[in-house]
């Protein structure tokens, strides 16, 4: 059972969160007409799906309702860090939980 260190609430059980998905996705810029359909297809359908560390988004749905970026190992389930949904991901984050 995972413990996710919500940057806003502190360590909380995974039961309070819903999993959203890959946290590395970059949505193509709005309004850029030249963006080809391929970029939108890849954004919507293609995933890196790494075997190992994975940056992902969880939603603290039964908590503060904030989305949280979590770096978690998909092989061991170890969590290496938790960050707010946006902004820099400083390595000095307090998010380290094991």
């Amino acid at each position: 059972m995972l413990v996710i260190n919500c940057p806003w609430c502190g360590p909380r059980d995974m039961e309070e969160f819903t999993y959203v998905g890959d946290g590395t996705l970059k949505r193509p810029e709005i309004g850029s007409e030249e963006t080809d359909q391929k970029a939108w297809y890849e954004y919507t359908y293609i995933r890196d799906n790494p075997r190992g560390p994975h940056l992902e988004v969880w939603h603290h749905a039964a908590g503060c309702r904030q989305h949280v970026r979590v770096k978690r190992d998909t092989l061991t389930h170890e969590i290496h860090g938790c960050w707010p949904a946006s902004g820099e991901m400083a390595d000095t984050t307090e998010g380290e939980t094991k």
């Binding site: 995972l2 819903t18 995933r47 061991t76």
Partner: protein, 418 residues
């Protein structure tokens, strides 16, 4: 090879079981083959069998990083059904069902296919309407389906909660009488033995590490037992699909997730069918050995660990007790997890790829077991002819880009939601 029959079993009894030989050979890898299937699970072994049988391709090898059947074919909940609504799925799974119905005979191996029916329960009028839509589509596709009333459903699941205490009373259900269960390991072993008997080399503990590609054409595979050449290579490696396609620079519409399964202590016959709860994530059957086999939804997050977490076990048990209150007294014997390659629309990919000679069989979500013979059949067609069978022509890798979405649930491109 010993042909299996009641006579061979009797002979075994009289000769101290000395009459049996290896179920399959343990050959050394050759330098090259006409085709190589990567993945010695159910789908890979079935593909090899049908390549040899339907297409006369016997100079082929199946390579497997562990032991045969060590993937999801050996860790699923053994349900077989073809109760799909959408065209692409319906005819494919029905082909698979037809193959199941003759599989033991065909393989000379009893895979214990038991057509005890499968019932999806409905708990509201809207849900019953949705089931009717699917059931009507099944019937018009020539697939058996019956819409059961509440009384009929309760007769099939006599221990289900019929009291006032049920939060979501049973309204009825959609039944596929030809659905059922099979003995999962036997499916792998049966295909392995039959493929072996047709001359296929089954190479265990032979892990694919990389590929040999020239001019966008597949030429071979680098394995832990040396490089093996082939102009046709099929990937059937659930749980490792993207790990291998990454080596080829192919990007995949796949996420790998955990699905847990559970079995109870062995009981005398307690439930004869297969049932799914429509108001919670729970399905149930009983194995021939007596264990209640049940499971629920994905754990919900990307994972390659064949190890689930407790909340999902709790949810499944909670749903189980909500549907069948007597099950509370039964004890859970073991719970385990398999890793599922979840595709972006919940339907599989049996397809050519942008690399010539490389074929992909992937994205089975948690529906791979029932597809085993059909998947092998269609993948063999695709590999042998370099073109799909009509039943898998919609299941292409490029369908997402084209918008040809096969989304039974209508859940959208959220792999964990299917």
């Amino acid at each position: 090879m010993t042909r299996y029959s009641v006579f061979s079993v009797l002979k075994g009894g009289l000769t101290g079981q000395k009459n049996w030989t290896r179920a399959w050979r343990d050959p050394e890898p050759k330098k090259s083959y006409e085709a190589i299937i990567i993945g010695g699970g159910g789908h890979g072994l079935a593909t090899a069998f049908y390549l040899a049988k339907n297409h006369g391709m016997t100079d082929i090898a199946v390579i497997e990083k562990g032991y045969l059947g060590s993937g999801n074919v050996g860790r699923n909940t053994t349900i077989v059904r073809s109760n799909y609504m959408l065209y692409d799925n319906a005819h494919f799974y029905e082909k698979s069902m037809e193959l199941w119905e003759q599989l033991s005979h065909e393989l000379n191996y009893n895979v214990m296919f038991s057509q005890r029916g499968i019932l999806n329960l409905g708990h509201s009028d809207a849900q019953m309407d949705g089931m009717a839509r699917r059931g009507n589509a099944m019937r018009l596709n020539g697939i058996d389906a019956e819409l059961l009333t509440r009384e009929e459903a309760l007769k099939y699941v006599p221990m289900a909660d019929r009291s006032e205490n049920a939060r979501f009373p049973i309204y009825g259900g959609l039944m596929q009488p030809r659905g059922g269960t099979a003995r999962h390991d036997a499916v792998a072993w049966g295909f392995a033995r039959a493929a072996n008997n047709l001359g296929v080399d089954l190479l265990q503990h032979c892990e694919a590490l990389d590929f040999v590609v020239e001019d966008n054409k597949i030429k071979g595979v680098v394995t832990s037992r040396g490089t093996i050449m082939a102009d046709k290579i099929g990937l059937a490696v659930a749980g490792s699909t993207t790990t291998l396609t990454d080596k080829l620079g192919l990007k995949m519409p796949i996420e790998t997730h955990l699905l847990q399964a559970m079995v109870s202590e062995p009981l005398k016959p307690w439930f004869d069918g297969v049932v799914t709860f429509g108001a919670g994530h729970f399905y149930l059957s009983q194995s021939d050995k007596g264990g209640l086999v049940f499971g629920g939804d994905l754990d919900g997050y990307n994972s390659y660990a064949q190890r689930g977490n407790l909340p999902m076990v709790n949810h499944v048990a909670q749903s189980g007790v909500a549907l069948v209150p007597a099950i509370g007294r039964v004890r859970l014997l073991r719970h385990w997890a398999g890793v599922m390659d979840m595709s972006m629309d919940g339907s599989p990919i049996i397809s050519k790829t942008p690399i010539e000679g490389l074929y992909l069989n992937a994205g089975w979500c948690y529906g791979g077991f029932k597809a085993t013979p059909g998947s092998g059949w269609c993948f063999a067609e695709t590999i042998a002819n370099d073109a799909p069978d009509w039943r898998n022509q919609g299941m292409t890798l490029d369908r997402f880009e084209r918008g040809h979405i096969i989304d039974e649930k209508g859940a959208g491109p959220i792999p964990g939601a299917h």
